[in-house]
């Protein structure tokens, strides 16, 4: 038997010579190679899946342990103490944090999408001097760490507007466009063929009506994607609530409250993990309902303009 190099193998697979002995041998070798590759790839896949999934599993198993067991090194719960979730849920403040987070995320998302859409539309469809400059400024602010401007913003919202201890300083600016949302919507709007908007104009639609009745229905997936991104951003935001809401527990969000929960129950890892599960759960539920829009959106962030 001759020693088969990968080259002859693959060539044998792509151009088999039926009937000849060497042809069937090459084909059998190719099939064996494919089977081995299948096994190798899926074994690696399972190993990777373990890395990604096991942390969730351990967190969950700890969340249902009894207080005593959570202090031991055992991995599997002796008794399944489901009441831990109840205990967390009934913690004073937990429901308030939930409501605050939801208000922040829903209001923030709605305002961001409504205020960013016209800006993105102008940047994608209108020709005007300075358009590239505006686009460059949008991209620059997109990359800006929020800490760069936090001192003057904090002084403005608390000393001049008297809004310390509320989430308003985080929600109000979202009514004035968000750079990342503008950028993504603009990328998507560029792909809308000019014929559609021009046809609408021939029919006598103004720009606003063209945008609302022709363009918006066409870019629904992009709108869903940016809305999801913004929702998750608000839901996960820690720095913003830490700066503006920390002085007033009635305005805390889940991310901020979760940490103080850990502080108050510092030896009860089971309760802390139960709280962690309750904070992660809504995000995961939303993801399962909107998986497709989400993954399309992430792909869009890597697309060149």
């Amino acid at each position: 038997m001759t020693h088969a190099t990968p080259a002859t193998l693959s060539r044998g697979a792509s151009a088999p010579r039926p009937g000849t002995a060497s042809g069937t041998r090459a084909r059998r070798a190719a099939r064996r190679r494919r089977a081995l590759q299948w096994i190798a790839v899926h074994a690696l896949g399972l190993a990777a899946a373990a890395f990604f999934v096991l942390p969730f599993v351990f967190v969950f198993l700890t969340a249902v342990m009894s207080d005593n067991q959570a202090l031991t090194r055992d991995l599997w719960p002796h008794t399944w103490q489901w009441s831990n979730f109840r205990t967390v849920w009934d913690t004073p403040g937990f429901l308030t944090w939930w409501r605050n987070t939801l208000v922040y995320a829903v209001a923030g998302t709605a305002l961001t999408v409504v205020s960013s859409l016209p800006v993105a539309y102008a940047l994608a469809k209108f020709r005007f001097p300075g358009r590239n400059l505006v686009m460059m400024l949008v991209i620059s602010t997109m990359m800006l760490p929020p800490q760069v401007i936090i001192i003057p913003m904090y002084l403005f919202w608390t000393k001049q507007m008297g809004m310390d201890g509320t989430l308003w300083p985080l929600i109000i600016p979202m009514a004035f466009g968000d750079a990342f949302t503008i950028f993504l919507l603009r990328q998507f709007l560029l792909t809308v063929p000019k014929e559609y908007t021009e046809a609408a104009k021939v029919d006598g639609c103004g720009e606003v009506r063209t945008l609302l009745t022709v363009v918006v229905p066409m870019i629904k997936p992009a709108i869903a994607a940016v809305a999801l991104f913004q929702f998750f951003y608000c839901w996960n935001d820690y720095f913003g609530p830490q700066i503006y809401a920390s002085s007033n527990p009635a305005a805390w969000t889940l991310s901020y409250g979760l940490e103080s929960f850990k502080g108050a129950h510092h030896t009860n890892w089971n309760l802390t993990m139960a709280a962690t599960v309750l904070v992660m759960a809504p995000v995961i539920v939303v993801f399962f309902f909107a998986q497709k829009a989400f993954i399309e959106g992430v792909t869009l962030t890597g697309v060149k303009g």
Binding site: L44, P55, F128, I151, F239, Y256
Partner: protein, 316 residues
């Protein structure tokens, strides 16, 4: 008549300009009020002494020399950032590409695998960080339990200055979903004919990857590296929460705590803005760090937008 602009045309142009302004108005207000104004204020405050109560007083470059020479947390934070840029960003790109390659090769249960790989990216950072501080805690954590069981000496992770950044890196690799999806899309875009041609030339898997895959996806690799560096400049929630939770600080409302536990090993630049501004009420010095952050972030953004071979284009 022939050289001057027709009045009707001029009216039409003015209307178009007004329309553009109207559409851009949310951004114009937002950009001026929430970017230009605070940036100029930050620059001004960086040259003043200001504690938020008495009016700011001009002190020249005093804050700047304080931050660079006397503020004990500045250089450790910058060194940590450098470590994270070199190790964490590199590993994230390599791992993200590996997982992206793997997911394009998986034939059975691809959807299930993709969801499993992607999900950790969505875990809220505070929750994910607390989960990892628990998973990696040296006393009762399951990871060290398993490592001990197979005879590997278990590190102190978030409680050991030498291991806290590797622990944060593990957390960052867990949330690789964003890069995985971007690489997956790029890999699926590589023209199949190029692989077939390479195969006919006798190229093995490594050569196909090196000479077909990599050149095709190199813009996306660059994009991942540069955005990774920019994200590292902003790295705040995970190191802060990890430090606070691992050190066992109780409560967080108005608590004074030394950031960077253990031993300043998890300090990053954004944490310094918080430490100076909201714990020490030294707004002037906080603004100096904010400007350092601004310059670093803008430098890498410029790299991203470079006209020739730029990764994000401001033009269409």
């Amino acid at each position: 008549m022939s050289t001057a602009v027709h009045p009707l045309l001029r009216a039409k142009r003015r209307k178009a300009a007004l329309r553009t302004l109207a559409f851009l108005s949310p951004w114009i207000v937002g950009f001026s009020a929430f970017f230009v104004y605070p940036l100029l204020s930050t620059l001004y405050f960086s040259f003043t002494h200001y504690d938020g109560f008495a009016a700011p007083t001009w002190t020249g470059g005093k804050n700047w020399t304080y931050v660079f020479r006397d503020y004990p947390l500045f250089w450790p934070a910058l060194r940590n950032t450098l470590w994270l840029v070199v190790v964490m960003v590199t590993l994230r790109v390599v791992f993200g590409l590996g997982i992206g390659l793997l997911i394009t090769k998986i034939k059975t249960g691809a959807g299930l695998f993709r969801t499993a790989f992607y999900l950790p990216y969505l875990a809220p950072p505070v929750a994910a960080t607390m989960a990892f501080v628990f998973l990696l805690n040296p006393g009762t954590g399951p990871v060290n339990h398993v490592l001990g069981g197979i005879g590997i000496p278990a590190p102190g992770w978030f409680t050991d200055p030498g291991w806290s950044k590797p622990a944060l890196t593990v957390l960052a690799l867990w949330g690789i979903g964003d890069l995985m999806v971007i690489f997956m899309a790029a890999l699926l875009d590589v023209p199949r004919e190029q692989y077939e041609a390479a195969e006919l030339d006798g190229a093995g898997p490594w050569h196909r990857f090196r000479y077909v895959t990599l050149p095709n996806i190199s813009p996306i690799v660059m994009f991942a590296v540069v955005t990774g560096v920019i994200q590292t400049m902003q790295y705040y929630t995970q190191p802060l929460v990890a430090g606070k939770v691992a050190s066992g600080i109780i409560g967080n409302s108005g608590q004074q705590f030394e950031p960077g536990y253990p031993d300043r090993s998890t300090l990053t630049l954004p944490q310094l803005v918080y430490n100076l501004g909201f714990q020490r009420f030294d707004y002037g010095a906080a603004c100096v760090v904010a400007l350092v952050l601004f310059v670093l972030a803008m430098a890498f953004t410029a790299l991203l937008m470079r006209r020739r071979g730029g990764l994000i284009s401001a033009e269409d």
